[in-house]
């Protein structure tokens, strides 16, 4: 379709100068499909969320619908302990997940960056969970955590641990059980990114450092880590936003339970809008989440300086 748009312009005759070969409207025609789709299915929904956040809007209770001013926001901040609980849990989830994924991902990347026999196969295997969906991850770990058939049962058979209940239905263990399941899928993300960036470290630097007698740990701190800094900052921020927003895994693995202890803010919002049909309030909560993420995106843009250098 986009190509058709390009064809519609009279093909530029052979020219010498670049400027004259560039029809003025062509770039606009080329971005038009993307712009239209994003306006219709991202911008418009975002604006309608802002609009509903100022409304009482609940299809099951139409007699209460109408303009609400900032009531929804006031309610969230002053009168809704669940909002604060889920916000705090979201923060905890994001910090723990991103921190651990970065740590293990960095270690894994450094290891598979070495030269050793079986490296290709090793890389393929440790990176493989990256392609697995959130729902499939849940399915796998539901099997593993199941108290009848899961790995704990076999460990208990061998005398390690107790039979007990599933780690997913115990409020004391569910957090770490979910963290481990998400780590399984998330560590390869960082490992792949960091490994890609490691390829561009100049080997000469290490050789020079070695000539100067720097230990490997020193080389890591003074050569490798500074080189990786940008990639780490960017991927960490991106991942944090992604972990905040992503509901697939927790929705299917724990459903936010038991007793709501693994409900993130987006999960709470989904429940509020889908189950309770309280669209107005859910929209207000969404707006709050946007503001938090907007803050992140400003930091992200500052750090990445994206679009600052064009050809």
């Amino acid at each position: 379709m986009a190509q058709a748009a390009a064809v519609a312009k009279p093909p530029a005759p052979p020219r010498r100068r670049r400027a004259s070969a560039t029809p003025r409207r062509l770039p606009y025609l080329l971005i038009a499909p993307a712009v239209l789709l994003m306006l219709g299915f991202i911008a418009y929904p975002v604006i309608s969320v802002f609009y509903y956040s100022l409304q009482n809007y609940n299809p099951t209770k139409p007699w209460r619908n109408g303009f609400a001013g900032f009531d929804n926001f006031v309610h969230a901040f002053t009168d809704d302990p669940l909002f604060w609980d889920t916000l705090v849990f979201s923060a905890k989830w994001v910090v723990v997940e991103v921190g651990l994924q970065l740590l293990f991902g960095l270690a894994l990347a450094l290891i598979v960056n070495q030269t050793f026999a079986g490296r290709g196969l090793g890389r393929a295997m440790v990176f493989s969970p990256w392609a697995v969906s959130g729902v499939l991850t849940s399915a796998i770990w539901v099997l593993l955590y199941n108290s009848q058939t899961g790995i704990t049962r076999y460990l208990a058979d061998m005398g390690i641990g107790s039979y007990g209940t599933s780690w997913l239905s115990d409020t004391g263990t569910v957090f770490w059980a979910a963290v481990v399941a998400d780590l399984w899928r998330g560590v390869p993300f960082f490992a792949i990114l960091i490994l890609a960036d490691l390829q561009s470290v100049s080997k000469d630097l290490y050789e020079a450092a070695e000539v100067d007698g720097a230990s490997r740990i020193k080389q890591f701190w003074h050569i490798t880590l500074p080189h990786l800094k940008d990639a780490i900052i960017l991927s960490t921020l991106l991942r944090a936003v992604w972990e905040f927003n992503n509901v697939d895994l927790l929705y299917t693995l724990t459903g936010g339970g038991p007793a709501g202890v693994t409900t993130t803010l987006p999960l709470y919002i989904a429940n509020t809008s889908v189950d309770a049909h309280n669209f107005g309030y859910a929209s207000a909560l969404t707006t709050v989440a946007f503001v938090i993420l907007l803050f992140c995106s400003i930091v992200y843009l500052r750090l990445s300086k994206f679009g600052g250098e064009n050809k």
């Binding site: 890389r123 969906s133 561009s200 809008s273 992140c296």
Partner: protein, 299 residues
């Protein structure tokens, strides 16, 4: 630089990271000198953590119901048969393939156009467009479910796969455009200009000169789009009520939500969900190596 950013924005979607060709006769390199056990021990431990879950689901899908054996023997394919017919995974599979392929083509075409504009032109709203692309990465689809549902209801597209295809495409677009524009920037403009001098129009020059060089990039972006839409769950869950229209992740979720979970069926369903993704990666691996080596040389 741009390539490095592209990789940072979107990870290589495959377990392959290229080696830039190393100088053959360099002397000893410090990082290559780690003692073997310092490599194999942590790697082995991590491999156990990675592979046991895969083994577990394979085991459950192949051993008979009620068995507690730790090897899938005697082997049975009953679970697969059951999941494919009784649990409608045959239909879900068709729907998922349709959504995945349609998303792949729509995303690639629209992103190719937008990416070309970004890479090759300076125009007034370019900065605004780039900013919009980046900001949209922070807009979670999950939080827009209700307004999106209303839009699709208005368009009479609820219960039609079209709604899911559009939604998946839209949320794939920003990243795909940024990626493709970076791939196009890596193709020297002078090549295109040379083709114009030889009498090609812009479109023909693009098709003959640029497109073949973009193949690794297009395959990377296309496979992203396919895998994401194959894996994604919420849009299908929300917009498709009719069981005939559901996709694989929704089917998996239904299996998990049943009152007494049929673990064998769940495991077999999981394998069905995993197989296409594995095949896609096996197929595109060599293209990705080419694609990202080109990037590594530049970055």
């Amino acid at each position: 630089m741009t390539t490095k950013e592209a990789i940072a924005v979107a990870p290589a979607p495959a377990p392959t990271v290229p080696e830039p060709p190393r100088p053959a006769k360099k002397s000893r390199r410090a990082w290559d000198e780690a003692p073997r056990w310092q490599i194999y021990l942590p790697l082995g431990i991590y491999l156990v953590f990675t592979l046991i879950p895969f083994y577990w689901i394979l085991l459950f899908s192949l051993r008979p119901a009620g068995s507690t054996s730790l090897v899938p023997w005697p082997m049975t394919f009953d679970h697969f048969e059951k999941v494919w017919t009784e649990r409608s995974f045959g239909i879900y599979f068709q729907n998922s393939v349709l959504v995945g392929v349609a998303t792949l083509f729509m995303t690639t075409l629209v992103a190719l156009a937008g990416g070309y504009a970004l890479a090759r032109f300076d125009f007034k709203v370019k900065q605004v467009f780039m900013l919009a692309l980046l900001c949209s990465q922070f807009v979670p689809g999950a939080l827009l479910l209700v307004p999106l549902f209303e839009i699709f209801a208005e368009l009479q597209m609820i219960n039609s796969l079209g709604s899911v295809i559009i939604a998946e495409t839209v949320f794939q677009l920003p990243l795909s455009i940024i990626l493709i524009s970076n791939f196009i920037k890596n193709v020297p403009y002078s090549l295109e200009e040379a083709a114009w001098v030889d009498g090609c129009g812009r479109m023909k020059a693009f098709r003959i000169v640029v497109l073949p060089l973009l193949r690794p990039g297009l395959i990377a972006v296309g496979s992203f789009a396919f895998v994401h839409s194959w894996n994604h769950f919420l849009f299908a869950l929300m917009f498709l009520n009719n069981q005939e229209k559901q996709t694989i992740p929704v089917g998996l979720n239904t299996l998990m939500g049943a009152d007494s979970v049929d673990l064998g069926a769940l495991a077999a369903g999981g394998i069905v969900a995993a197989v296409p993704v594995v095949i896609v990666f096996a197929f595109i691996q060599k293209w990705l190596i080419t694609g990202f080596s080109a990037g590594a040389v530049k970055g």
